[in-house]
């Protein structure tokens, strides 16, 4: 059986990141357009109503970012765009766009499987797909939209087809060197510390990243990063401790420390949680 590898645009030039999140003012009767990677989203503020129109391009790794707010009256969403209408009693015109991590674990693979030597550790860098949350203000804010910028493929993580959990498959490879990981507007980067305390080598074919438990940060250059995760294979060999290093990830090349842009979806658990190795590495 031939295996067709996931798309990985490492050969594409890496554009400068453009921070697209934040607050926007949208007067009643006007429309704004946000293109974030593969997603084009039009938001119209009508009296007592928000209308959201969207369409997604075919390229999950599209790096383009463009924001036009407000949009000229003649420009509007195409007829083919999908739409959502949200009614509200309030007439406020403040919008808040936030990036968020996926609502399930994300499975990523190295370009080719490798083994981590016994009593050794490496850093892995993984980029995972982003979701977009749109809030209508002012306080208390109402969530208008919580959807992926590009719908990732479903996948299954577990020892067999009867035990496990649904996850998303990442379309990019994990890297051993952060500089090899290109910037994508629709993705965030996670650093994973992989430690092998067992006597034998640790084969890494894929890794399930529990992104629901990770907070999202933005560095001074506008790149999105998550909290760092440590995965330690215990000496026994079959169990792995997963620990999230809470707080901003360590970015030595940034002038300022990364600042929080989205809280984790699930309440973070303190300390390491032991998982069966098969549930994390497949």
């Amino acid at each position: 059986m031939r295996h067709i590898a996931p798309v990985d645009a490492t050969l594409q030039p890496t554009p400068e990141p453009t921070p697209w999140w934040g607050e926007y003012a949208l007067e009643a009767g006007s429309t704004g357009l946000w293109q974030i990677g593969p997603l084009r989203l039009w938001i119209t503020n009508r009296r007592h109503e928000w209308r959201l129109y969207f369409e997604r391009g075919p390229d999950a790794l599209d790096p383009s970012v463009a924001i036009v707010c407000p949009l000229a009256e003649d420009d509007g969403p195409p007829e083919t765009a999908e739409r959502t209408r949200m009614a509200t009693q309030r007439t406020g015109g403040t919008l808040s766009l936030e990036p968020a991590l996926a609502d399930r674990a994300v499975v990523s693979r190295p370009e080719s499987p490798f083994q981590l030597l016994p009593n050794d550790a490496v850093d892995l860098f993984v980029s995972t797909p982003l979701w977009l949350r749109v809030w209508a203000g002012p306080e208390p804010r109402h969530l208008l939209w919580d959807q992926p910028l590009f719908r990732p493929s479903d996948t299954w993580v577990g020892p067999d087809t009867t035990r496990g959990a649904l996850a998303y498959a990442s379309r990019t490879f994990m890297r051993l060197d952060a500089s090899n990981l290109p910037y994508y507007a629709a993705r965030a980067v996670t650093r994973i510390r992989l430690e092998n305390r067992a006597a034998g080598p640790l084969l890494l074919e894929r890794l399930s990243l529990p992104v629901r438990e990770l907070a999202l940060y933005a560095d001074a250059r506008g790149r999105l990063l998550t909290e760092t995760m440590t995965l330690t294979r215990e000496p026994g060999g079959d169990l792995a401790a997963v620990r999230v290093e809470h707080g901003a990830p360590d970015r030595r090349d940034a002038d300022e420390g990364p600042r929080l842009v989205a809280e984790p979806r699930d309440t973070p658990r303190r300390g390491g949680i032991l998982h069966a190795l098969s549930s994390l590495l497949g």
């Binding site: 719908r151 493929s153 479903d154 299954w156 993580v157 649904l166």
Partner: protein, 301 residues
């Protein structure tokens, strides 16, 4: 008449009325308590467990409270339970013969609840019927089919039948049969359909989509595309992927194989002569030739 009148007066003035009234009150309160208690335990059980667990707890509470109420109410009415139970023993024999089917269903229902091949909310297939389980009752299981019909299946039938639980596991395989003509490049078709599956977001990345070469058919090569999907999105993927496969095969000029049959008459067939005749140029009917043809046909028969 006087005797009857005196009995009626005695009933209303003596303890008889008091017993009847207190029995009726016990019965009404008990019924209300059974309904209220079963709803409460059902709600509490639903918070902690499945819909199945909630249903069982609701029914159990209802029947236990109802049973206790009946016993207390009968005692209030002045009836001795020992006599009733003695009579019930005799009745049981007669009743048992008359209600064999019901008893069998009742016991089968207990086995089904114990074994739990499915729970309320699962989608099951029994024989030709596929539907979502609405309730597991004492005598039967109620299914709602996808065309919104209520199907009642006796518990005894279920216990004896093969039941397929479609929604037991979180993921499910979808098989799409492909029939290709013998001259088609199998590798090309395999790559095409695997790529289609990999691009579809509802098709699971793991377990990987696969194409199985099922065999050499009578008129076609039989292939099968097998992909996996979450049980909630299985139907959506089935519709979308089959359409996409059809479109892709058409775009790549890959014709599906149609059933065909070659007839062999015992010797190599000579090519048929085809003569194109346009209107106006056709020869006038040749009566002699027609007569000759007719005579030849008669000679054969």
């Amino acid at each position: 008449v006087d005797q009857l009148w005196s009995q009626i007066v005695d009933f209303f003035t003596g303890p008889g009325l008091q017993h009847a009234l207190s029995g009726a009150v016990v019965l009404i309160v008990g019924l209300l308590l059974a309904r209220w208690g079963s709803r409460l335990t059902g709600r509490l059980a639903a918070r902690r467990g499945s819909a199945q667990y909630s249903l069982i707890m609701r029914r159990l509470t209802y029947y236990v409270v109802l049973g206790v109420t009946l016993v207390v109410a009968l005692a209030e009415f002045g009836l001795e339970l020992s006599i009733l139970l003695g009579a019930a023993g005799i009745l049981t024999v007669a009743f048992g013969f008359a209600s064999q089917t019901s008893a069998s269903n009742l016991i089968s229902g207990l086995f089904l609840l114990g074994e739990q091949p499915f729970v309320v909310g699962d989608v099951i297939r029994v024989g030709q019927t596929t539907g979502s389980v609405l309730s597991i009752d004492a005598l039967s299981v109620k299914l709602r089919t996808f065309d919104n019909l209520l199907v009642r299946i006796p518990n005894e039938t279920l216990l004896k039948s093969e039941i397929t639980n479609v929604s037991h596991f979180p993921i499910r395989r979808l098989d799409i049969a492909l029939r290709l003509p013998y001259h088609e490049d199998v590798d090309r078709v395999r790559s095409l359909v695997i790529q289609l599956a990999q691009r579809h977001p509802l098709c699971l990345d793991e377990p990987r989509p696969q194409v199985f070469f099922q065999g050499f058919g009578e008129s076609a090569l039989d292939l099968q595309l097998s992909v996996w999907a979450a049980r909630e999105t299985w139907f959506e993927l089935k519709n979308a992927l089959q359409e996409q496969v059809k479109t892709a095969l058409t775009e790549h000029a890959i014709e599906p194989a149609f059933p065909h049959r070659t007839l062999y008459a015992g010797s190599p067939t000579r090519p048929l002569t085809v003569r194109v005749v346009t209107r106006g140029e056709a020869d006038p009917p040749d009566e002699n030739r027609e007569r000759e043809d007719e005579a030849r046909t008669r000679g054969r028969s």
